[in-house]
């Protein structure tokens, strides 16, 4: 497990040092959400209605933004070869990469979300459900994204390819995430919010298995 934490520590360090691109996702998130009110106009009721959906779409796109460098930077400088040859199972290495991606991208976005929610007139009692849903759903974005990043590691300018590969698999996260976040705002029959939250958790847990296994398989092919 030392190897696992060493990799997470190194990735977080790299992202937070100058030129690491750690703040990129947060600023993209901020920019996208701050232009929405300009595009929609000052209709507060409308903004409230679309706030959860806009926040989730922006979260998805911001998470994608930093994914293309997840393995590519390591492949370009030869680190990937040594990661593959290390005694640690490659699945754990991919998991460590996904965890670091979440720590440097997903977590900061979840923390920034309520502040940006204010700009979209998201009511205060909707903040906690939104953050909770994002906290549960965002790991799935990093874990599924790791598979896409591993598949496109050998492709120059693979960012667009990753989006095409990964976005369809993000759709369940989006659906259940928005539904769970919205439950606190709109009166819905039954306990739809709780159900959505449970399903969102299920998607994250499934990704916890699919991400490392799929990512490792893709990397083994990529180095050869």
């Amino acid at each position: 497990m030392n190897a696992f934490f060493a990799l997470v520590q190194r990735e977080v360090r790299l992202a937070t040092r100058v030129g690491g691109g750690g703040g990129m996702a947060v600023f993209f998130f901020l920019i996208v959400l701050s232009i929405v009110p300009f595009g929609i106009g000052p209709d507060l009721n409308l903004l409230t209605r679309i706030a959860p959906g806009m926040l989730w779409v922006a979260l998805l796109l911001s998470a994608l933004l930093t994914l293309d460098r997840l393995f590519q930077a390591d492949q370009e400088d030869g680190t990937l070869d040594l990661l593959v040859l290390a005694p640690q199972p490659l699945e754990l290495t991919v998991l460590a990469k996904a965890v670091s991606h979440w720590l440097t991208t997903g977590l900061p976005l979840v923390i920034a979300a309520p502040i940006l929610g204010l700009m979209l007139n998201l009511p205060l009692d909707g903040m906690l459900p939104l953050m909770g849903a994002m906290l549960i759903g965002s790991p799935a974005l990093s874990l599924l994204g790791a598979v896409g990043a591993a598949l496109s590691v050998g492709v120059r300018r693979g960012g667009l390819l990753i989006s095409l590969l990964v976005l369809p698999f993000y759709v369940p996260v989006l659906i259940f995430g928005v539904s769970a976040s919205r439950a606190a705002l709109v009166a819905v029959p039954g306990d739809l919010g709780g159900q959505s939250l449970a399903l969102l958790g299920a998607v994250s847990l499934a990704s916890l298995v699919v991400g490392p296994v799929g990512g490792a398989a893709a990397l083994r092919v990529a180095v050869k």
Binding site: N2, L14, D77, L85, P87
Partner: protein, 212 residues
């Protein structure tokens, strides 16, 4: 955990390599025993790097076999090799010592080994600097210091002397000599004479059926 069992020998039988539908080499057979130094020579494109990557398990083996003598079912060549390719695997934003500390932790080596490994290539006084400011030769030395850090019996070195100065080449020679003395083996693609006694040469330029 890192100290794998001593290498009993590596046997390569009728190895072939095809890259991009071009046959790089075929029917390559050789044996490496503990304490052996095998030097790969041949013109550019003769397959020196490809052979090293095949041995490390980083490139598909088209045909032929690579076997560890007396290895169990679950032991592969990848478990005993230390691969140093033509890229240094150095992260520019990290300090020199942080770069090496990471590899120590990742390969399960005690952190106390980092300082001596840096000293092997006289990098001790540069430990606090970001690796990005190092020269090409210093980066190469930092990459090679992994050889002093991680204890594995079979070294695969791809042009290790590129951009090194004479003092560093001598340091590398010393490191390789002591590795061979302790029963390790080295397969290196290099055109520089490192002054190692008993070096065998495998010439890949004959391409067709090169063998020892």
């Amino acid at each position: 955990m890192t100290t794998s069992e001593p290498l009993t020998g590596l046997t390569v039988t009728k190895l072939c390599c095809v890259r991009g539908e071009r046959q790089v080499f075929r029917d390559l057979s050789f044996h490496v025993a503990p304490g052996d130094m095998l030097s790969l020579v041949g013109p550019n494109g003769s397959g020196k790097s490809s052979l090293l990557r095949q041995l490390a398990g980083l490139l598909e083996v088209t045909d032929g076999e690579i076997n560890l003598d007396g290895a169990g079912e679950d032991q592969t060549v990848a478990d005993v090799v230390l691969y140093a390719g033509h890229l240094d695997a150095v992260k520019a934003p990290l300090r020199v010592s942080e770069n090496l500390s990471f590899w120590a932790a990742f390969y399960g080596v005690s952190a106390t080994q980092v300082e001596p490994a840096l000293e092997a290539f006289s990098l001790g006084h540069l430990g606090h600097l970001p690796a990005g400011v190092l020269s090409a030769g210093q980066k190469r030395r930092l990459g090679l210091s992994r050889l002093a850090l991680i204890d594995r019996p079979l070294w695969l070195l791809d042009e290790p002397t590129v951009s090194l100065d004479t003092a560093s080449i001598a340091a590398l020679g010393d490191l390789m000599r002591s590795h061979l003395k302790t029963g390790g083996s080295i397969i290196a693609a290099t055109h520089v004479d490192l002054g190692l006694e008993g070096t065998r040469v495998l010439d890949l330029s004959s391409n067709g059926g090169a063998s020892l």
